[in-house]
Subunit: 414 residues, 2 copies
């Protein structure tokens, strides 16, 4: 189970070097996913404090548990980007990179003198991925980007709710950094696509591409079907709570121990089997429920009958009983359930990592998963201390002497 | 606004050819994102009916509106994979591809005689991306994969809810195909990473990689922070409804017209500004609320005061007033709000496409967005009819004669 060592994990992206000028969640998540697959990430942080996520959530020995995952497999170097010599060093790092990923406010790179044209001049063909709340252009580009705001503007938050006749509570958050992480995934796709294009040009001169990924737009892509229905029919998709609007019965059902289980019995065969299981052959035989439209119409009645049955037992037993009848079902997993699940364990999704500051920590495994015909990526080390790789990167890669490093440190440039 | 034509959009992925053996959402979403960036996608469908999404949701003239987006920029060919000559043709397509993306049940490709070893034999170095509910291995691999089940097992659904003391309703769905789409994005990253590795080997013989992406695991990656906290402290992350558990005030607030607005006033400065705006300087001056921990403690009181103010006006006015005070805020957007938003419009995220069967349809724009130093991708055509590209692909690419095609058609092989 212990996959921690201190070597860069070998994976399909070995040899790819990325400079991260990132903080918070979106850009660092993008590079973390790429680092897991073997890319070398040089993460540039403010001397001293570093990335704010280092102190987010629960902390032990001055280190946030989240950071252990969020920063894993990356090389941390410090750099004061408000100082001209900091910018000079940033340029020397960028000169040796295949790509730069950043998520400062639009215009900030340019104010530092590190805009796209500068990057192209010092490293022709280098890819620049820019992540922001609303994009690099347009009337909202300068607005402060908060995840909760972007998720609401992307149209997702409206749907994570119950219809007004069932609840007067507002739409729920998804409870994770969904918008930021989605954006990070699109950014990774943009980065790898730009590299594909560069390699396809095979030596022919070609300018580096700038990829512009917005949080609001990444969220909005999830609503592609709603957009077509609105555009053509004026239909405004509304929240449907815990059900599927178009198929029944499919819902979350309460159990005796307060747990909820999900059951998807929304086909003719699954419906009949489910009604037999709960001893309601009368409903299976009822002609009103012969087809899906009829079952959608009578969904509340069917859900009531199923709930009456699920409430007679605890969640674990109810979902197992339904599964054993060949009907898709599961308890709604907490993080504890995920951790103890035999499938997640079998697939290496729960890994115990030795973090020098924290001791053993559980990390999620590598997604996407590569076969063993070649290197798969992995977990080389947990999120490092601020500037942990200054000597390796500035000394080894840029050739600075220990004296140079001492001076830079004293002058608060690194 | 009309970006529809019938040529493959030129983008960074031009020259990349992918055979899609996919259906439903995850695999087709993966290839759609790549198609938008210029990849050539040859989508293999069952003769006659084709992909089930063709009839999902609202339909006009026999075509689902969602399909117009979901199938865009792809070439549709029909192929009966239950027939030996269908398999033979599939092999000839795969021979000419850089990658194959599939999302049948684990083992189905092998049963057809199209498993990884066969693919490697007919096209050495070809990438195979396999998408499934639970992965290609492990005790659950043969279970039926439904999106709602995978989202619940991945740990996300538990968090999309209110605490038990605020609501006895179950966790809500996110209302979109979130798990499938996330999985599609990870699959695209896997595919492009495998191609990176292949090109890096530059000619040296190297086996094709198999990438294995599971819906449950893709969802589970969103919970990375929760996993570390559970592993170290035994903390089981619980839902927090519409609030941020760690920062206050940040919530959704009700308005006079029934709309909800999100306000994120969760810093010392933003909090003070917000209290002044609503005429509650007394709360700004209250020492209990001097720091974030105090505000989290008193979040209900603060949310009550803010709600009292937001309820005096309609959502549009309330959110605009808060924004103008320099505090992040937005209405919770419906799909109508997204469509009419000036930023989405400015950024080309709302595009009017001419679909031969549907007339004008609104499509979302291209994410990620590329700069104009090179080709950006785009929308070449809307989701095509089943087999619309049979002649082009089987005739042009594989060199079959019109007679061959006629015979294959008569024998229900294409």
């Amino acid at each position: 189970m212990n996959n921690s060592n201190s070597a860069q994990p070998d994976g399909p992206l070995r040899g790819l070097r990325i400079v991260e000028l990132g903080h918070f969640v979106a850009a660092p998540f993008c590079t973390r996913v790429l680092a897991d697959l073997g890319a070398e990430i040089i993460k540039v942080e403010t001397p001293g404090r570093g990335d704010p996520v280092r102190t987010w959530g629960k902390m032990i020995n001055g280190k946030s548990l989240w950071w252990s995952v969020h920063g894993r497999n990356k090389k941390s170097v410090t750099l004061n980007l408000k100082h001209p010599r900091g910018i000079e060093l940033a340029k020397r790092l960028i000169e040796k990179a295949d790509a730069v990923v950043e998520n400062f406010k639009p215009g900030q790179l340019e104010r530092w003198g590190l805009g796209p044209d500068v990057i192209e001049a010092i490293n022709p063909g280098c890819t620049l991925v820019r992540i922001s709340g609303y994009g690099q252009t347009g009337p909202y580009k300068d607005r402060a980007a908060f995840g909760v705001i972007g998720e609401a503007m992307g149209g997702l938050r409206h749907l994570t709710a119950f219809p007004a006749d069932q609840s007067d509570l507002p739409p729920a958050r998804t409870g994770v950094s969904l918008g930021d992480m989605l954006t990070g995934l699109y950014a990774a796709i943009g980065l790898l696509s730009a590299l594909y294009e560069k390699r396809a040009a095979s030596g022919k001169s070609r300018p580096g591409r700038v990829v512009d990924v917005a949080l609001t737009e990444s969220v909005f892509t999830l609503l592609e079907g709603c957009l077509t229905e609105y555009g053509k029919l004026g239909m405004i998709r509304q929240p449907t709570g815990s059900t599927l609007p178009t198929n029944a019965p499919s819902n979350a059902y309460p159990c005796k121990d307060g747990k909820w289980i999900v059951i998807a019995a929304n086909s003719d065969a699954l419906f009949a089997r489910m009604m037999t299981l709960i001893g309601r052959e009368d409903l299976a035989a009822d002609s009103r429920f012969d087809d899906n439209p009829g079952r959608v119409e009578g969904a509340r009645e069917l859900d009531g009958a199923i709930s009456q049955w699920t409430m007679t037992m605890v969640g674990a037993k109810a979902s197992r009983t339904v599964q054993e009848a060949g009907i898709p079902s599961t308890e709604i997993y907490t993080i504890e359930d995920c951790t103890n699940d035999p499938q997640f364990q079998h697939r290496g999704m729960i890994r115990k990592i030795d973090d020098p500051r924290l001791g053993d920590v559980l990390h999620p495994g590598i997604v996407p998963r590569f076969d063993d015909r070649g290197p798969t990526g992995g977990i080389g080390w947990a999120g490092p201390d601020v500037g942990a790789h200054n000597t390796e990167v500035y000394g080894g890669m840029l050739g600075l002497t220990p004296d140079d490093l001492g001076t830079l440190k004293r002058e608060a440039i690194i």
